[in-house]
Point group: C2
Chain length 173, copies 2
DNA sequence: CTGCCTGCAAAGGATTTGCACTCAT
DNA sequence: ATGAGTGCAAATCCTTTGCAGGCAG
């Protein structure tokens, strides 16, 4: 049941790229597959780390291409990135829907790409062990409202990780 | 009118350093003065930028020393830093009387950490223009509570900036 | 006097860029 | 065929580190 949905997610993204007039290349496919696999495993990969995995998957792809690809695909709206405090930036597929098998309808795109930013969930990172976790959805809703009202600031709740100490590192003092 | 309090803030910090057994050197004084001045002007300076200003104030101070000084003084608890999304890290004078070595020694990191209680304020940064603003205090209180309850995660509300669009950049798309 | 702190220079690692070529469309 | 995308290598950028000497305490 996985090999199937796996393909769907990457394929759906490729389809969106095509619609946008972007070219489909082996490098881009490899990058998307690596990120998709990481997403499914709840991993958060940096550009450099993605590059390593792409190399094993498609050895001819150069590191520089990975960087350019990440930038291009993020610009196209099919990838998103999250800035972690001091440990760089990690990437996600921007595919609508999420982890659970939403609905394997090939034509599920139905609509256009959503907002390039702001539809993902928030992340929290432990400054002690570096672990990144997904935050419950809505944790920043009130903050977003308060900031909008006080400053006219439109918060992008998923663009930067919140920092602190995870349960494991905070408890055992 | 200000020359007085200016001196006071830096002096107070120097006093704290002395109490901690840290040495007072021209380089450290210059760094503190630069950061203090920036704080007063609501500026948020990166290590590199601090280095530039220190150079004009005390030309003999080497860049490497600025980096080491920032690390050391942050460790001593008299400075704090805020991670901005993709534009590096900026430094502040730590507010006397509240947080001490939040990340003092590597050992203290996961150990008897003081609660990052309400002292430091949160920052928001505009991803369009890069501007950094202070967030109203308390905006993250609810989020902090929700994260503690849901994940046992202790949020450090002032360690990373929240990203989004400021009033100027959000409105007039 | 001690050893913490510094200056210097060189190393380091991550990301970017110029250029010519290739391949997806 | 045509130019977006790529490979390669060099260049940058910011930050760190080894070492020897200097100054604060």
């Amino acid at each position: 049941m996985n090999a199937h949905t796996d393909t769907d997610r990457v394929e759906a993204t490729l389809a969106r790229l095509r619609e946008l007039g972007e070219r489909i290349t082996p490098a881009r496919q490899a990058v998307l597959r690596v990120i998709d696999a990481a997403d499914r495993a709840d991993e958060h990969l940096s550009a450099e780390h993605i590059g390593e995995r792409v190399s094993t998957l498609e050895p001819s792809v150069h590191r520089a291409t990975v960087y350019r690809t990440l930038t291009a695909l993020t610009g196209a709206g099919v990838l998103t990135h999250v800035h972690l405090g001091s440990t760089g930036t990690v990437y996600h597929l921007a595919t609508p829907g999420s982890e659970a098998a939403l609905e394997a309808s090939p034509a599920a795109y139905g609509k256009e790409v959503r907002q390039p930013h702001g539809h993902g969930h928030a992340h929290v990172q432990c400054v002690v062990c570096g672990r990144v976790q997904d935050a419950p959805s809505g944790v920043l809703d009130e903050a977003a409202g308060a900031l909008r009202e006080a400053l006219g600031f439109e918060l992008d709740t998923s663009h930067a990780a919140l920092l602190g100490r995870c349960a494991d590192c905070a408890g055992p003092a």
